[in-house]
């Protein structure tokens, strides 16, 4: 059992598990009930799956200089994925793509209601001054 065989075996396991992450995301996309839970499933291949596959690639290349490039590629994904997930989740919350009975905690609802009340009060005040100006 020489080191080459071990490295090959480890990278083979990484590749198969990384591919299974994609399959898990697809199953989650098909079976979960609403946008929020589908987002939970969709992040699996984007972070952990990509990490496993890049590690397999680094192990297969057998050169040290390829590792910084792979780390940069993975860090880039790690920085962009939360931002896009935040934007999609925010848009989903605002357009009511969620089942409120499935949430265990909704900390945003109080903030949204407070902002709506404030906006309504300001609109009412502006309306009042407009009436005064008309008269």
């Amino acid at each position: 059992m020489n080191p080459e065989t071990v490295i090959d075996a480890v990278s083979a396991v990484f590749m198969v598990v990384g591919a299974l992450m994609s399959l898990g995301a697809a199953v989650g996309l098909l079976r979960f009930p609403d946008l929020m839970s589908r987002m939970h499933a969709a992040t699996k291949p984007q972070v952990l799956g990509l990490f496993l596959l890049l590690a397999a690639l680094g192990l297969q290349m057998r050169t040290w200089w390829v590792w910084p490039v792979l780390v940069v590629a993975w860090l880039f994904q790690l920085l962009t994925v939360p931002v896009s997930a935040h934007m999609v989740g925010r848009a989903g919350y605002r357009t009511k793509h969620l089942h409120p009975e499935l949430l265990s905690a909704d900390e945003l609802e109080a903030v949204v209601q407070k902002a709506a009340q404030k906006a309504a009060r300001q609109a009412a005040a502006r309306h009042g001054t407009d009436d005064d100006a008309d008269r």
């Binding site: 946008l35 397999a56 297969q60 880039f76 962009t80 934007m87 848009a91 357009t95």
Partner: protein
């Protein structure tokens, strides 16, 4: 051994891509489709990675980074300009 791994991952990734495409087709909302398109891009990236690892070359590494950049820009743009056009809110 690489041949077996290639076959297994090809089957698994094909099934995963089929699932993501079904979710893109069925919807029900625009955001679900954006999410499924993101997953489909991740699956393409995984396929590129496995091809590079199995054949020991680095030709597609820049393409991998570009794919993740395009997925980021696309999903952020669509999420920024999405609007609620449904009558029945509870259909998702």
């Amino acid at each position: 051994m690489m041949q077996i791994v290639l076959t297994v991952t090809a089957v698994v990734l094909s099934l995963a891509a089929a699932g993501a495409i079904i979710r893109i087709a069925r919807g029900p909302s625009l955001l679900d489709r954006v999410l499924a398109a993101d997953v489909l891009l991740a699956i393409f990236g995984a396929a590129l990675c496995i091809d590079m690892a199995a054949n020991r070359h680095l030709n597609n590494l820049m393409l991998l980074v570009a794919i993740s950049l395009i997925g980021f820009v696309g999903s952020v743009t669509v999420a920024r300009f999405v609007a609620d056009r449904r009558e029945n809110v509870r259909e998702s």
